[in-house]
Homo-oligomer: 346 residues x 2
């Protein structure tokens, strides 16, 4: 089909600004007609109506080819409300079980690591973060809140079903890459029940991918490797919480979350996938044109990839790479960066 | 009392080697007589007898002034057995609710970070990791193991009692430091039950420490700060799992776990505290004299501090600082490093 039916959620803080640049680049590259539907979701709507994600909106979202999201979260809303009822609700309801987060150090980009840690191999890894289980299910509770006897629990839920499908996806991605290397991150020496489930799943699914070499690292040790020798990683597979942590660190060592793209992917295509920059809403710089739209623009490339438009995705990545290598210390506004990248596409 | 009644657990891998150097330095610095009792615990004993930590040994450990531990863990033992039944059992039974982990960049030490990330402020932070709750309680389970319907859970257990005592300890430590700054690390936008408990506890206990400034960071964002701007942290307080992760990263940016000391502290002194390097047993280099004993030696300094022998602790730290600033690229064996540091103390 030669049109893209896109749901757009600008969201909170810098979300709308960076999404505008993402759409600019999408229009510049896409041979398909882009039909956008904007959804007004986030802090403003919650304040005005008390709504986070009405069921009717969720149903409408299901009808699109893909969703582009800016950011969700605002300090004026109690912590967890928008995250759980809006962002995580979309990820869970649309079964985004693969939260895909590449981390690549582009030429010209400054890493906070010393030069000898990244040269000559560079950094080019992708984290396949599970998106629908783990400690993110909201399974937990509290008792005697506000008293000295208060008790609060959080339950990490892990199923073979949930682990197997994301592990298989990660193996397939590793298989398609040059190094064909997959590392499981967990903490199986302490979280034994979940850890053993994940380990066995990797071992067993690995039989289907004899060419892929596998490795294991505890999540604590993995943070060390990511700053001392990040080139050891190719594809990483891990649970929802460890994936959250490790992708921020991976983003940091590859130039910061201003560049980190992500896809919340439903590989079975039973519902649309959602693409979003890893950075949050950054309310402190919202509306000032200071946000870097590159992460959103690279998320648009991931979106195109998912829709089978790999050529256009590659063109965006090349335009971003070109822009990054020329950046140096230039101070540009959000829209100037978007314009510059869009210009490279025409 | 002018003697130190010390329980010594060399443990697995490089544990015995590094402990030997720690004891060498302890003897060199201590005006008190050191009475040591060695406990044979770890992989070897488990293989021979099936025992990890017999109750009688646990009772004996209680009788000492402090415990010095090398490392626990070996690939020949199923994952989790020694960790849960030996290491974590000691931490839990002896109520080591403060897991204290300083991270300081000593002059002359090479950090994997680019120079401009650490200069001129340097890095000098201390993590107060909760040691007896969180996802470390072994609370969880598995159902239909090995079938496609397998389910595994891990429960993070958090109590007001447990959070309050470690938060109060962290505030007191922040109060005693120059910057008087305390950061809570959590993920309260997702782990709402536990997150709210921790937040409220920090707010309320903070009333007792009006001079201490507090801040909050999500654990994912904290990994970014630790590589981009580590000087923002002074004292960090966090739960058992986040503390495990963040202390490895903090160790990495301050020169590696070869230098990272820790204390598993029972501040109420109802049982002896245990001091250990943060690095594990590193079986790949065991018995080769390649391990850096500095983390253990600095753990001995923490031990002396805990026993009210601050002057001796400061002398060890000065000797280590001297040794580190002269190290450059010298290749020295485990015992050569121990000898050099001990020599600076006579
Ligand atoms: C906002 C928050 C709920 C979210 C997460 O934890 O998944 C964010 O940190 C991310 O990584 O996308
Ligand atoms: C060995 C393991 C159980 C332990 C932990 O997770 O606490 C270690 O990583 C540490 O940090 O001391």
């Amino acid at each position: 089909k030669d049109s893209i039916d896109l749901a757009v959620i600008g969201g909170d803080g810098i979300g709308p600004e960076v999404v505008a640049e993402g759409l600019k680049v999408l229009e510049a590259v896409s041979a398909a007609k882009v039909n956008r539907t904007e959804y007004d979701l986030g802090a403003r709507r919650w304040h005005e109506t008390g709504e986070t994600l009405p069921d009717s909106v969720l149903e409408e979202l299901r009808g699109h080819d893909a969703i582009l999201l800016g950011a969700i979260g605002d300090p004026s809303v109690p912590s967890g409300v928008l995250e759980r009822q809006l962002l995580l609700r979309i990820r869970f309801e649309l079964d985004h079980y693969v939260n895909l987060r590449p981390a690549k150090l582009y030429p010209g980009v400054i890493t906070p690591l010393a030069v000898d840690r990244v040269a000559p191999e560079g950094i080019d890894l992708v984290v396949v973060r599970e998106g629908t289980e783990g400690p993110y299910t909201g399974n937990g509770g509290a008792l005697r809140v506000g008293t000295p006897a208060e008790l609060a629990t959080e339950v990490s839920v892990n199923t073979r079903f949930g682990a197997e499908r994301v592990v298989r996806d990660a193996f397939a991605r590793a298989q398609a890459r040059e190094r064909k290397h997959l590392t499981l991150l967990h903490k199986h020496n302490v979280l034994s029940y979940a850890g053993h489930l994940w380990r066995r799943t990797v071992e067993e699914v690995g039989q289907e991918f004899p060419e892929v070499e596998t490795a294991y690292a505890h999540i604590d040790a993995a943070t060390i490797y990511l700053v001392q020798e990040p080139s050891r990683f190719d594809v990483i597979v891990t649970d929802n919480l460890f994936g959250d942590i490790v992708t921020d660190l991976a983003a940091a060592v590859t130039g910061g979350i201003g560049l980190a793209a992500s896809g919340n992917i439903n590989p079975d295509r039973t519902a649309p996938s959602m693409f979003e920059p890893v950075h949050g809403s950054a309310p402190d710089i919202a509306g000032q044109g200071k946000a870097d739209p590159t992460a959103t623009i690279l998320s648009v490339a991931m979106l195109l990839d998912h829709l089978g438009r790999g050529d256009e995705a590659r063109r965006i990545e090349a335009a971003v790479a070109g822009d990054l290598s020329d950046r140096r210390n230039a101070v540009r506004s959000t829209s100037q960066i978007g314009d510059a990248i869009a210009a490279r596409l025409s």
